[in-house]
């Protein structure tokens, strides 16, 4: 009877293997596994076997049954799928391009601006918005600019008919925030600025700045240097060095200009940095106590720092753009280079 079982398994396996039609498979299933099948006949004949061999043989019949069932299920699935997945005669040319959805791009200025905003957001700064159209108080007076200071000239600043002006720097936002919110203050303010400069490779009458202002008890020049160095390293990479040099701005004291080591030559000296190894990034300083006094903030209790950066210039440095006018030409052949 053992031989009979083996024979049965062999022939069933053979038949299933060559079967190519689902109806035929149904017949095979009935023949081997159905109620009146060869296998069930073996079950009924179990009692012919000696009692001590019966359990072992019973087990091998069960095993055979399970194996055949699995083979049939596998064949059923294969037959079903083959009708769906007919291999075509002509092969796919896998080298043809895929169907790519349309992709646009952000303007390089926006890309840089977002990076800068994100760096400051990660350092717990808040972003404050300001106005492009300002008055003399917010653009000059509150920033401690003397009445006869040359920057107030029409040769430098655009004026409107009603006496208002287009802000020449984002420092106006400092004033608006300090007017409204008591310290502690920790903001950056990006925005457009306007100066009566002729368009050339490094100037535009409309340009973009970002201003940072921190006011609290115990804020020092060391905090300014910290923030500057961290900001520069996140934006330009770990190797970048920063330095500040004494300078003059009416609204900061001490005032300084900020430089970063040249991003092209890493400080070795090249054409971009005019062989100096350094690039100018913007102006900075400790908020002048006069500014606090004008805005009625206790200048004995609070100290603060501020700095302003030119976004256009940073974008040019970062993307190696030689001429500022390219930024405002909006040639899609240029725009499409930024991802």
């Amino acid at each position: 009877m053992q031989n009979q079982l083996l024979e049965l398994i062999n022939s069933a396996t053979q038949e299933i293997a060559v079967c190519n039609d689902s109806h035929e498979l149904v017949n095979i299933k009935a023949k081997y596994l159905g109620k009146k099948s060869l296998l069930s006949e073996l079950y009924t004949r179990l009692k012919e076997i000696p009692a001590e061999e019966r359990p072992a043989f019973g087990q091998s019949v069960n095993l055979a049954k399970r194996q055949l069932e699995e083979l049939i299920v596998a064949k059923e699935t294969a037959l079903r799928l083959s009708s769906w997945h007919k291999v075509k005669d002509d092969q796919l040319d896998l080298t043809l391009p895929g169907i790519v959805p349309s992709l646009g791009s952000l303007h390089p200025l926006t890309k840089v601006l977002r990076e800068i905003e994100d760096v400051f957001l990660s350092m717990n700064f808040e972003i404050a918005e300001g106005f492009d159209i300002e008055d003399e108080f917010h653009n000059f007076d509150a920033l401690n600019t003397p009445k006869d200071h040359p920057s107030r000239n029409k040769a430098d600043t655009f004026y409107l008919k009603d006496g208002n002006l287009l802000r020449t720097q984002t420092s106006t936002v400092q004033v608006r925030i300090m007017e409204t919110y008591p310290p502690p203050i920790k903001i950056v303010s990006p925005g457009r600025c306007y100066r009566n400069d002729k368009s050339d490779a490094s100037h535009s009458p409309v340009f973009h700045q970002v201003e940072a202002l921190v006011v609290d008890e115990g804020i020092t020049l060391a905090d300014l240097k910290d923030t500057l160095q961290n900001f520069a390293q996140i934006l330009f990479g770990n190797k970048v060095q920063t330095r500040i040099r004494p300078h003059f701005f009416p609204f900061t004291e001490p005032s300084a200009e900020m430089d970063i080591s040249c991003v092209m030559c890493e400080g070795a000296g090249c054409k971009v940095c005019k062989m100096s190894g350094w690039l100018e990034l913007g102006g900075a300083g400790m908020v002048d106590p006069n500014v606090f006094d004008i805005l009625k903030i206790d200048s004995e209790k609070y100290t603060g720092f501020a700095f302003g950066l030119g976004i256009d210039r940073i974008a040019m440095m970062k993307y190696n753009i030689p001429d500022m006018r390219i930024l405002y030409e909006n040639d899609v052949r240029v725009l499409s280079q930024f991802r």
């Binding site: 790519v100 992709l103 791009s105 303007h107 926006t110 972003i127 918005e129 492009d132 655009f158 502690p184």
Partner: protein, 851 residues
């Protein structure tokens, strides 16, 4: 772990109410998982004696009982299986309110019943409802039950963190509370040795000890008691166990459990006479089990032990799996007269391993797994001895067998107030720190250089105890000069000796944690505050909008804010249009940069022209920026705007098929997609668009009274005016203009919350209508959805067809309607009848035919 407030108050003078106590526990790091108020019981619940108990005729479980209430005899029907003659139970008289039920005189199977005999569950004491609660036979009959079982009470269910084994008993909780609430401890006085002295029986005459595995059993102590009477525990003890979630068994077992609940240290008692005696005295052997040693445990199961399991045995057989469960071969029964009381300390890892391996979890293993100190055995054992003598009589043999070889040195830990401030951020004085820690049972040794010798005091140094409560620990590790000499003195440090059961305190940082835990983490104040200057909503909405456009193929452009004054006239705007109110610059660089831009569209068209001239024929451009115009109604003359220009094909053309040209539906889709992304719905559309757009192929969206967006085809004449020749280009120019300030406002307080998804399957039906021109999709869609608001979940247009088979002046619209009822699976018949209704309605309204 369940603790009863009434019981806890045995150990501490607590003057705070239950709510406050819950907060104190929680904020000192002992999480309260549940508070169960066991209410006061009415006076009409009394003790009563069952005099006679008979099965009711025709019932196999209801008894009729004659009950003595002290005043009278009444008849009560009771279904409890343990109901029998001559027991004292708890009777709720008619009129008593129990939970939501009011007890009344009723008839059950025709038998009158004037009250109810209660289970523990029915009086709110525990979850046990297997039978009526039986009181001890000496309980007076006819008295109110509430005094006997000390109700009302509050049961706290506590979650003890694994680092705090010292909190696994009421004394530990009391100690911690005494520190966090500055309350006085009133620990039980343990007065021992009284009977032993009289007995003159030496424990060594009765029992020997052989600890083979010191590592897995650091300490083993045993006492022997003779002639105890095993029986029921007194009611107060039973009640306390029940409140803690344990079942009373007999007085000896109950005492070991009671002491475990009190001290946190599990004990085990077994029958002395069941121990094997070779030559008169039995020996307790602490050993590893043999491979496949079979052990019949108290829980009725037989465990097959292995060589890494530790057992307590006599010279022949195991009588307990160490620290986990006792044996059925030696447990205390009513016949037991002589007992061995075990108080031991087992290695926590070993207990955990064995308990895990055999899937046994007992109150004992739960505690040992968390690492108990060998020192605490002595108090637990003494406390149990006191209770055994008191409650079970008998004689305690003199002395204790105590195997404890590797004693630990005292643990001395410093804490610097400066370091506390550095870590926590607030200042606490030395005095405050000392107070909190000594209240916890730590012993203050002094400040700074404490390792100076104490010449006159000899071996053991008197401890500097300041304001120290009477210690709960009998076994403080002896401190001597050698220990102090090992300390490297730190000037500012306060030195504390740690009580043995605080195994979790070994470093300064541990003490810092204890102090702030008791002082209250809420006392640590916020250092810096966010000022909310930033408009985060506007900021991220603008980013999201720009990103959406970029991922749909649009390129951002940035133009100057200056423009040429006459250009805006080219848009042909109405005279009162804000966009004609340009702000003039007094001192411009030149006439081309002499006014502020009032819109972004002109410059977008100029940018398009520039790029067309430079050979780019597919243009998808947008600018999001400020525009400026004079408007006295606005607080400022500058607002954020978004404009889009689209020219060419509506999708990227590729080799598989020709891309469609941009059309009205493409530009509309871009705007609708944006609004969908931002979650804006319920919009009003009309076609009162600006003059530069083709009226018949343009649309605008109004929200309230504000114009949110307009979009459509740029008039070819205006394109031509700006230099774009539509005919030559073979493409129209499509424009969209969106008021970002309005978009920001309407989305500002929008929420995005979860809605339950339908539980029942959705059914789809496609249906086509022949529709006369002039009837809009919107009108039809609204009409269809209104037909059955409950069953129609939504519908979508899947085809518009004009052509063969469709008569002139008509079109065919095909809709897919989704049916989904919130409370049932719709049948085909139900859906058919809704469709019939839709068809009838459309026919009657507009004479629309189904195709």
């Amino acid at each position: 772990m369940k603790i009863s407030l009434e019981w806890l108050k045995d150990y501490i003078d607590l003057s705070i109410n239950v709510d406050n106590l819950k907060d104190v526990l929680t904020f000192s790091g002992i999480e309260v998982e549940d508070v169960l108020n066991v209410g006061a019981l009415q006076d009409s619940i009394i003790t009563a004696k069952i005099l006679d108990c008979q099965l009711i005729k025709d019932s196999n479980h209801l008894f009729v009982c004659q009950v003595d209430t002290g005043k009278e005899k009444i008849q009560v029907v009771c279904g409890a299986p343990n109901c029998t003659n001559d027991i004292i139970g708890i009777l709720a008289l008619p009129g008593t309110k129990l939970g939501n039920q009011i007890i009344k005189t009723t008839h059950l199977r025709g038998v009158e019943s004037s009250g109810m005999l209660c289970s523990e569950k029915e009086i709110g004491l525990s979850d046990n409802h297997t039978g009526i609660m039986v009181l001890p036979p000496d309980t007076p009959v006819g008295i109110s039950i509430k005094d006997i079982i000390k109700l009302p009470d509050t049961i706290f269910e506590l979650e003890i963190t694994p680092n705090r084994p010292d909190l696994l008993g009421l004394l530990g909780i009391a100690q911690d509370l005494s520190a966090s609430t500055n309350s006085k401890l009133t620990s039980p006085k343990v007065d021992i040795l009284k009977t032993a002295k009289e007995s003159e029986l030496q424990v060594t005459d009765y029992l020997s000890l052989n600890n083979i595995n010191q590592e897995m059993c650091p300490r083993y102590t045993a006492k022997v008691f003779r002639n105890v009477s095993v029986g029921d525990s007194p009611l107060w003890l039973k009640i306390r166990l029940i409140k803690a979630g344990l079942r009373p068994i007999n007085n000896i077992v109950d005492i070991t459990n009671y002491v475990m609940l009190e001290t946190g240290h599990p004990l085990h008692a077994f029958d002395y006479d069941k121990l094997h005696k070779t030559d008169g005295t039995p020996t307790i052997v602490i050993r590893n089990a043999q491979k496949d040693e079979s052990f019949p445990a108290l829980d009725g199961k037989t465990y097959l032990l292995g060589e890494d399991d530790l057992v307590i045995s006599d010279e022949v057989k195991a009588v307990a799996i160490a620290g986990i469960i006792g044996g059925a071969n030696s447990h205390i029964t009513s016949d037991t007269t002589n007992i061995v009381l075990e108080a031991a300390c087992f290695n926590h890892s070993s207990v955990r391993r064995t308990a895990f391996k055999h899937k046994i979890s007992t109150d004992s293993s739960y505690r040992f797994e968390r690492q108990l100190a060998p020192e605490t055995t002595k108090y637990a054992s003494a406390r149990a001895e006191q209770l055994i003598i008191e409650l079970a009589g008998g004689i305690a043999c003199l002395g204790t067998l105590d195997d404890w070889k590797n004693k630990s040195k005292p643990v001395i830990v410093p804490i610097r107030p400066g370091r506390f401030k550095q870590t926590i951020g607030i200042n606490l004085s030395k005095e405050q720190i000392v107070k909190y820690l000594t209240k916890l049972g730590l012993i203050y040794l002094g400040e700074g250089n404490i390792n100076k010798p104490y010449p006159e005091s000899g071996e053991t140094i008197p401890k500097v105890v300041q304001g120290q409560e009477e210690s709960l620990y009998f076994d403080i590790r002896p401190l001597n000069n050698t220990h102090l000499h090992e300390i490297e003195p730190i000037d500012e440090a306060l030195y504390f000796e740690i009580p043995p059961k605080r195994v979790d305190l070994t470093r300064e940082i541990d003490l810092i944690e204890e102090v702030i835990r008791l002082h209250g983490m809420d006392k640590v104040t916020q250092k810096s505050k966010i000022t909310h200057i930033m408009d985060r909503h506007a900021f991220y909405l603008m980013r999201k909008t720009a990103d959406y456009l970029v991922y749909n193929g649009f390129r951002e452009v940035i133009n100057l804010s200056f423009t040429e004054p006459h250009l805006v006239n080219g848009l042909g705007l109405n005279n009162d249009d804000d966009r004609l109110k340009q702000i003039v610059i007094v001192n411009p660089q030149n006439s081309k940069l002499s006014v502020m831009r009032t819109n972004l569209i002109v410059q977008l068209i100029q940018t398009a022209l520039y790029n067309l001239n430079h050979g780019s024929k597919q243009l998808r451009l947008f600018e999001m920026n400020k525009v400026f115009y004079e408007n006295s109604a606005l607080p400022k003359s500058e607002v954020e705007r978004l404009s889009i220009l689209w020219l060419g094909t509506s999708e990227e053309s590729h080799w598989q098929n020709q891309a469609r040209k941009v059309d009205f539906y493409a530009i509309k889709g871009i705007i609708e997609g944006l609004l969908k992304l931002l979650g804006i719905s319920d919009l009003n559309y009309d076609n009162h668009v600006s003059e530069y757009l083709e009226e018949l192929e343009s649309q605008r969206i109004v929200v309230g009274h504000s114009l949110l967006a307009e979009y459509g085809k740029l008039k070819p004449s205006i394109a031509a005016l700006f230099g774009i020749d539509i005919i030559e280009l073979k493409h129209d120019v499509w424009i969209a203009d969106i008021a970002m300030d309005i978009l920001i406002t309407v989305t500002r307080n929008m929420t995005n919350v979860y809605h339950t998804i339908p539980r029942f399957p959705s059914i789809e039906r496609d249906i086509s209508f022949l529709i006369q021109n002039g009837i809009s999709h919107k009108a039809i869609a609204e009409c269809v959805c209104k037909t059955d608001l409950e069953s129609i979940s939504h519908m979508s247009l899947i085809d518009e067809y004009k052509g063969k088979q469709i008569p002139n002046g008509f079109r065919s619209l095909t809709y897919r309607i989704f049916f989904n009822h919130p409370e049932k699976t719709l049948t085909d018949d139900e859906v058919d009848s809704i469709i019939d209704l839709i068809v009838k309605t459309l026919k009657s309204l507009w004479d629309i035919q189904m195709r």
